[in-house]
Symmetry: C2
Subunit: 343 residues, 2 copies
């Protein structure tokens, strides 16, 4: 059925049901989540929580952030929430409630929108987030915007602590969770419409379509006294560049230490390191801090943390990628710019 046949309120009712919520009446699940007003009111109101508020928002546009017909709507839903959760992880925070804005053409299929919501709900339940409203509007092309609130880690003295980009200091070590480049490799496979004929290819595609926000690593990092970090969304080198500029430092990245998955090196042996250095949407966490504080995190196998570089002094804030001999390597395309039409 077309969304224009359902109308705004008909669609909202279906979507709420997809989330396991009743609309407009309040439900027990809303109350358990600390919501003070019914779904479908002008805004959401949540119980006062300990800690400082974190807010973030992220958008996916059809044809720009995902290819219609080549990615399942469930995956678009999962990823639209996961990318926001990754921003909360990148602050070391705890996610709380999300608002979802859909821009839909009148010709959109209600089944597709419901599939999107199924994926979003799966992600929300996996990570303990409540989707509590938003906005549905008409437009020329599909876009989904998620706004997510969360709460910052509270230190022993009651002060809020967050991982920021501007807190890298000379002598700090640079670490990253998981493996890099898998998402970019998965995107390449989707774009090339290559048959996913191996488990490795399927896992690479899944790294692109179902990224996992590193909430536990972010929380563990702030708890360990790490003050600098961000998630890898534009590409490792470009994102380290954000940290270098925000902190006014140089960062030496050891290419040989960048963690690569066996899947990546098996499917793209020649391009693996390039994909890992510049491919976007890994949603792994970069953590920067003194070795003394990083050590306890490196000792936790569940965080899958690898040391990849150091904070150093250069003439100006920048990132140098060095090979095993210490020589600087040229790095091509620096990462993902959301407005330039080159990708």
């Amino acid at each position: 059925m077309l969304v224009s046949e359902l109308g705004e309120f008909g669609l909202i009712e279906l979507l709420a049901r997809e989330l396991g919520l009743s609309y407009p009446a309040a439900s027990e699940s809303l109350k358990r989540a600390g919501l003070l007003v019914d779904l479908g009111d002008d805004a959401l109101v949540t119980r006062h929580a300990e800690g400082s508020l974190i807010l973030t928002t992220d958008t996916m546009v059809e044809g720009v952030h995902f290819l219609p017909g080549r990615v399942a709507w469930e995956d678009v839903g999962w990823k639209s929430l996961a990318s926001n959760l990754s921003d909360i992880a990148a602050m070391g925070g705890e996610p709380h409630v999300a608002l979802v804005t859909l821009i839909l053409s009148a010709e959109a299929e209600a089944d597709d929108v419901l599939a999107l919501y199924r994926g979003m709900r799966e992600c929300a339940e996996t990570h303990g987030v409540l989707i509590a409203g938003g906005d549905v509007v008409r437009g020329p092309a599909f876009a989904v915007t998620v706004s997510l609130s969360g709460w910052a880690f509270v230190g022993a003295g009651g002060e809020a602590k967050a991982l920021v980009r501007g807190a890298a200091r000379l002598g700090d070590v640079v670490a990253v969770t998981g493996t890099l480049g898998d998402s970019a490799a998965g995107l390449r496979l989707i774009q090339d419409q290559a048959p996913a004929d191996s488990d490795a290819a399927r896992r690479l595609i899944r790294a692109h379509t179902r990224p996992v926000p590193r909430l536990e690593a972010g929380r563990a990092a702030v708890a360990a006294g790490i003050e600098c970090g961000m998630d890898v969304s534009d590409g490792l080198v470009q994102d380290l560049g954000h940290i270098a500029r925000a902190s006014g430092v140089g960062i030496r990245l050891d290419a040989a230490r960048v963690p690569l998955s066996q899947d990546l090196t098996a499917v793209f042996p020649a391009e693996a390191i390039g994909l890992a250095l510049t491919g976007g949407e890994d949603y792994e966490l970069i953590l920067v801090g003194p070795m003394a504080r990083m050590e306890s995190l490196l000792g936790r196998p569940d965080l899958k943390l690898s040391l990849i570089g150091e904070v150093v002094h250069y003439d100006q804030p920048r990132v140098a990628v060095v090979d095993e001999s210490g020589a600087e390597m040229p790095v091509g395309r620096a990462g993902w710019d959301h407005l330039r039409p080159d990708r």
Copy 2:
């Protein structure tokens, strides 16, 4: 200059400057607003505030919510924030920080985007809100989504209080701020490209392009113990219908008491009441509560509150519009549905 020539980070830097903020470095104005991290980090983090969190989001799409070339970009910017502020007003809350998501085509003019930001900043400064980041992405057509957080009113016992749709009770009176229909009249003038050759026409257009969120009325209402309210965004009759259904009550609306501006009756003498009953985007506040509590608000001339009806018992939750004899009037088009392509 085209936004594609500037690139994402060039544009963000310009936009931050337009807001009087530096990017990516922290500024004193951010710290004064209670922000704990620099603009340009993964998410915003704000100081813990008293009261419960309110979150809302609202979107404007070019060609759907405003007509390109017929409305100034400054006005689009003002309204995109004002409509969100109105949702906070409709909860009786205090606005705090906003995130802005722009969907831009590569052919968008940077000057237009800056003009949009100027209008948004004007609205933010008028109402004491901080715009503290967001997202800029590429897409086929322009859209702006604002997510706004705020804090709920806190009662004497420390409990959060908010105006909700489901709290109308039999015997309550129904009141509304300001005058209704002016915005719909202004839209009609813009659509007809009628020359704005009178002060009245210009004021009607301004009611559409520069709506004023009724934050003070919302706050005063919760402080006076009113528990039910919402803003008029889809049209008076349709929005009263939301309250009737959420509360499970009937609402009798006295057409003769619906406040009309002299401008509206001068420019659209025959259609004034129709525009007031079903025209959208007034952003006035509907308040519903016992007369004993409403009286103190009716005595405040600055709130411009008019009594327009009563909560009554009908066979089912619905709104009846009655004329001076008490006879029910037929009401045409019920209001604004964001997905049906009939407007």
